[in-house]
Assembly symmetry: C2
Homo-oligomer: 420 residues x 2
Amino acid sequence: MPKKNAFYAQSGGVTAVINASACGVIETARKHKDKVGKVYAGNNGIIGALREDLIDTSKESAATIASLRYMPSGAFGSCRYKLKSLEENRAEYERLIEVFKAHNIGYFFYNGGGDSADTCLKISQLSESMGYPIQAIHVPKTVDNDLPFTDNCPGFGSVAKYVAVSTREAAMDVASMCETSTKVFIVEVMGRHAGWIAAAGGLAAQKEGDAPHIILFPEIAFNKQKFLTRVKQTVRKNGYCVVVASEGAQYKDGSFIADAGSKDAFGHTQLGGVAPTLASMVKDELGYKYHWAVADYLQRSARHIASATDVEQAYAVGKAAVEMAVAGKNGVMPAIIRGKGKRYTWHIEEAPLDKIANVEKMMPRDFITPDGFNITAKARAYLEPLIQGEDYPPYKHGVPHYAILKKVRVAKKIKKTFKV
Amino acid sequence: MPKKNAFYAQSGGVTAVINASACGVIETARKHKDKVGKVYAGNNGIIGALREDLIDTSKESAATIASLRYMPSGAFGSCRYKLKSLEENRAEYERLIEVFKAHNIGYFFYNGGGDSADTCLKISQLSESMGYPIQAIHVPKTVDNDLPFTDNCPGFGSVAKYVAVSTREAAMDVASMCETSTKVFIVEVMGRHAGWIAAAGGLAAQKEGDAPHIILFPEIAFNKQKFLTRVKQTVRKNGYCVVVASEGAQYKDGSFIADAGSKDAFGHTQLGGVAPTLASMVKDELGYKYHWAVADYLQRSARHIASATDVEQAYAVGKAAVEMAVAGKNGVMPAIIRGKGKRYTWHIEEAPLDKIANVEKMMPRDFITPDGFNITAKARAYLEPLIQGEDYPPYKHGVPHYAILKKVRVAKKIKKTFKV
């Protein structure tokens, strides 16, 4: 059997450590030259495959590939592009197989979240039925931490660390100013569907009563009066109140707090934001001086404060994906499995993709305190190991220094173009 | 002459490194036990003096004091409280002198910005005329970087580093997603009166054309059409556009962009935010997918990514303040003076407070490109040295670890209370 090339693509929202997975895939593939030819990366993800726009990673030096470990963002470009079902758009799948065939690609590594797991599974199943078998391996990645089977998802630990550290620092700032100035500080964090990231804000507290005093989860229906009462009680007790609010925080009827439907002076709808909306409530109803922050992309790109555990795991799933491919596996994902002991340990196991695709792992209710405003000891026991350790990038001119990829394109072999 | 005690207070908005200055003051005072007795810190700044609420720093261990170097926020509490003029409120000054006298305080170290320099000068002048001479030394601190004489202000370098690093990371994130997703990213940073912090965002660029593509300064009148045209041009050229906007960005008539006067669904005025307001414009006029972040307190408390140069200088001004006091100085401030050579060097010199109080150092126009949207090479040459080096705090449980101060209070000696 002539050795096959590999295709690697980044999918969906990028993270601080997705390139560490790319590094794991490429470095490991280079160690298995007997079985894996070149690694071609899709320029801007799966779109790169559809357009036959492939980056030849073999043209990048070992040093450049090693530096991917320290680089946030998606080094090869990512995309939000969900392949339709086979019934809806068979042409897309046929195009993928055509491109893979033209470039002798036998391994498909797809680095993403739940949607990508689904695509990966489809490629695995259909390629065979279409007469060109491909080994499709999913490499997990998502700050949302919502993939099943795996104990946690690479990307989450670093955003969790960022949120915990930032909340702790800002809370100390507010505590030192509250006598005459800001009494309420609200920081908005990501997590449209689940409160994993907001929960990580709870790690800022080192003991009972520490900030954050209130966490707003998407899982707990927002009650304005209950919220304001708690803010008031907290300010009276501590002199200040720190709130971590998930962007997905919502009312009982499912409407997001962020979608308050405000309009600017010209009648245009104002873009939401949970933090400013909550700040308005605090100001109007309680009159406290407030400040608010919206971390947005800063949180998921914050490689400068990445969790060393997360970086290590992101690399490990990339490495394991290639090892699974070389071992002949197909339609699987390397999952992170937590050891049973008191001391945190983890290892990689193989998980079947058909059990992963389209399944969302929600945060257990017992991770949230009965009053709905904070995390439990159980949540802390789960979360804390994931933010352990620092893994600082190298710096130059005072900012993180990253290698610049050459991104040499692979010569096209198919005349027909494909519109995406 | 019996040796005198010292009073130290933190004033105004805190920074990532103001406690490094406190560390410099206290450690240096401990080395001059022949001349300086105990260092009493005002609980919540100058208010602590007015209330006779003094923290005895001699009760803190050497290790705790050393750890102040790593701690963001104001360890002893700060306040926004500007003493009135002597004519308006003589009682306040008399109270201060009364408290200082009661506790044998002969040195006054005031750690703050322009307003504090003014207070410090007044204490220095009035105490003598009121028959109880005090040596008043101002210890510079402000993220606004607007004090005269000193080349830069401790606190600024760290917020500058945070903004440069965060902008660089987020810009890379957007670049990797722009093919199918976010095309415009806007990050709002501090600086109500001057664009120093926004300018620091420019350090994210390593070469011509790099993000940020647009910086909005308070110094340059905002022109909506010119802004939108530049955004459009940038997206067409690069595929995406990153904007760093100062909270102080304003229209020609001086009205802040943030004060767009929007109302929520209930008719309440919505709290501003330059970033969401600009995002609305981009969405309504250009239709691009956008994201925005507001760093707020996260930027000035981000000790985890402090500039090593800034930390060193913050410590140095605290140390120098005590050395000046011991040398008999009064009404002065240790200023940071930049060396003339190509390689960045700095040293501390004494600056007279009467030339500092109430003078605001603005950003030179030639730090901003002629089109008003970016920084010049001259600005870069000034800013870059200030963000050099990393000075990481110790970590425990995945978050920065800080000593907890005992904050033992000094027994009150005055019966009369004073209402602040």
